[in-house]
């Protein structure tokens, strides 16, 4: 009973951190979130995605061909509770909390003591790397949950040969490859690794789950072969054959792990590593613990994860990305658990010291996340379009025409946006009507051309500060939405030939 209470408290803590003001923060749905929201609502209302494709297995969306799992996952939620920011973020945040629970039970299955499992669960519930992506609907979080749940069920099956658990494992692993792209590479490797560890004799109990898993993989391969467009995203991101090894090795960086991984702040700014700075000594203890450990399976599993975790990310270009190596997280969890095993055997003063450090690191994460994150990334999260959409929805009939810019930014005019999706969601446009005529009231989505558009009568121009002339009198601005830094995000200008003739 006491144990149950401890587990429940950790789940509640994880839930509080991941669900607290979930709909309000981050204050704007990201480009992916808004796309998830509209496509899921469109599937619910019409069985077609935003491009009119019937129940797709790959969503063209913004040209990035999203995997279907997380979109279909939202359909029943929207059906039951309606479309909202909270409901859009709900499934991933829920999976994230469940992951904390799975981590605790999985560690126990891997023969860690209850105390160590609980302590790791507590640490994991406060891990910024996981929290940040959990609150912003990143599919990698769902995929991580499936992988760990599958592993947990696999371990149960290994012990008691229960057919349901191995079937469950193959089902969730199969689902995970339809959730996030890196799983397409990682999960087959994991399955192969586990197969080599146990080399089961071919019995019906083993054949069934293999068939289930193969069915998932075959469907995915068929999709890639017959629908070449869906691989476009992979081609765009591919780093090049000659650079794969270099990119893979880039992820083995102490700085990236503990100091600066670019999770919340841009490259040139102080931020967070994958783990907390205070975790470094525990991590070293964990490495020593790994070498000393007599649990051969755990040793092999940790080494497998260490080597295989960043393989998929190694194929993609750009700086090392914390989201592409979410699948690597279990390696760090296992090592930290081994470190905690040693720490908990030491004098209490060390534990208290660590907890103080952890509290500091967590408060630092919360400060970066709640106060600073939006100041750096407001434009990349399309901050302001929600407010613009709500205003226009209420006032569109007062104008003959409304022009909304699809390009803006905090420092320069460089962010290409998808305003129509925000207007579709916040104006409650019926997806069926949108699929038929592709119009939203009297709104056009393009950058305003001042020279021409200012001549239009009774038109509302919504643009960034760069869309209007420099000598533009500020008193012409009817309404303004600012970024959290105070820079103007969107300016609302009602055209009137009398006004515009002044600066022609």
């Amino acid at each position: 009973m006491r144990r149950l209470l401890v587990v429940v408290s950790i789940i509640l803590l994880a839930g509080f951190i991941r669900f607290w003001q979930l709909g309000d923060f981050p204050p704007s749905l990201s480009i992916d979130e808004i796309s998830f929201a509209f496509n899921a609502n469109s599937i619910f209302q019409t069985s077609h995605d935003e491009h009119g494709v019937y129940l797709p297995l790959s969503f063209k969306s913004l040209g990035d061909y999203k995997l279907p799992h997380d979109i279909y996952l939202r359909v029943p939620i929207f059906a039951l509770f309606g479309v909202s920011e909270f409901n859009t973020r709900l499934p991933v945040a829920a999976f994230s909390v469940l992951t904390v629970f799975v981590v605790i039970v999985l560690l126990q299955k891997l023969k860690f003591s209850f105390k160590v499992s609980i302590f790791t669960g507590f640490w994991f519930s406060l891990l910024g790397w996981h929290i940040f992506y959990s609150r912003s609907s990143f599919e990698a979080i769902t995929a991580l949950f499936y992988i760990l749940l599958g592993l947990y069920w696999f371990l149960i099956w290994k012990k008691n040969n229960s057919p349901l658990t191995i079937l469950g494992a193959s089902l969730v692993w199969g689902l995970s490859i339809w959730t996030y792209n890196t799983q397409r590479i990682f999960v087959p490797l994991l399955v192969l690794f586990l197969y080599l560890q146990i080399k089961p004799k071919i019995k019906p109990i083993v054949v069934m789950p293999i068939l289930v898993f193969i069915a998932f993989c075959t469907a995915l391969i068929a999709l890639v072969v017959f629908d070449r467009s869906s691989t476009g995203r992979a081609v765009d991101l591919f780093v090049g054959w000659d650079k794969i090894l270099e990119q893979y090795l880039n992820y083995f960086s102490l700085k990236f792990w503990f100091w600066k991984a670019g999770i919340i702040t841009p490259k040139d700014f102080q931020g967070l590593g994958l783990l907390n700075l205070v975790d470094l000594p525990i991590f070293i203890l964990g490495i020593i613990g790994l070498f000393k450990s007599k649990n051969i399976f755990l040793k092999k599993l940790t080494l497998f994860w260490f080597l295989a975790g960043p393989i998929a990310a190694g194929f993609t270009k750009g700086d090392p990305s914390p989201i592409r190596v979410i699948v690597w997280m279990p390696f760090f969890i296992f090592i930290m658990s081994m470190g905690f095993e040693t720490l908990l055997k030491q004098r209490k003063i060390w534990l208290i010291g660590y907890l103080v450090g952890l509290a500091f690191c967590f408060s630092y994460f919360m400060d970066l996340y709640s106060r600073n994150f939006m100041k750096f990334y407001a434009d990349q999260w399309h901050f302001g379009y929600k407010q613009a959409a709500i205003y226009v929805c209420q006032n569109h009939d007062k104008f003959d025409q409304i022009i909304v810019t699809d390009k803006y930014g905090i420092v320069v005019n460089k962010i290409k946006t998808v305003p129509y999706l925000y207007f579709l969601i916040y104006c409650n446009i019926d997806p069926e009507k949108y699929l038929q005529n592709r119009e939203i009231y009297n709104i056009s989505f393009r950058q305003p051309q001042w020279f021409y558009d200012s001549q239009l009568s009774n038109t509302l121009l919504i643009g960034s500060q760069w869309d209007f002339p420099e000598n533009f009198p500020k008193n012409w601005i009817d309404k303004q939405i600012d970024f959290p830094t105070g820079e103007p995000a969107l300016l609302f200008i009602e055209t009137s030939p009398k006004k515009t003739s002044v600066i022609k």
Binding site: S253, K255, K260, F269, Q270, F306, D367, T485
Partner: protein, 73 residues
């Protein structure tokens, strides 16, 4: 010689960048803690020791390689 041997211009630049982004005033505590010479010292230490995971990786690979050879004998 000062313990903090870093270029103070770098510190100023970081603080200036943060100020431009409107961050400094919001986080005085953390600014003091990390955006100073001590913060840069930690950063430098990470730069110097950045290769350690790679060393670990190569130790593991060499270990696995010899294990494989041993198994096949």
């Amino acid at each position: 010689m000062s313990l903090f041997f870093f270029d103070s211009v770098a510190v100023d630049r970081i603080v200036q960048l943060r100020r431009l982004a409107g961050v400094t005033s919001e986080s005085p505590l953390y600014t003091r803690l990390f955006y100073n010479k001590a913060g840069l010292l930690i950063e430098k230490a990470f730069d110097l020791l950045d290769f350690l995971p790679l060393v670990f990786l190569f130790i593991i690979l060499i270990y696995l390689f010899f294990r494989l050879i041993k198994q096949h004998r």
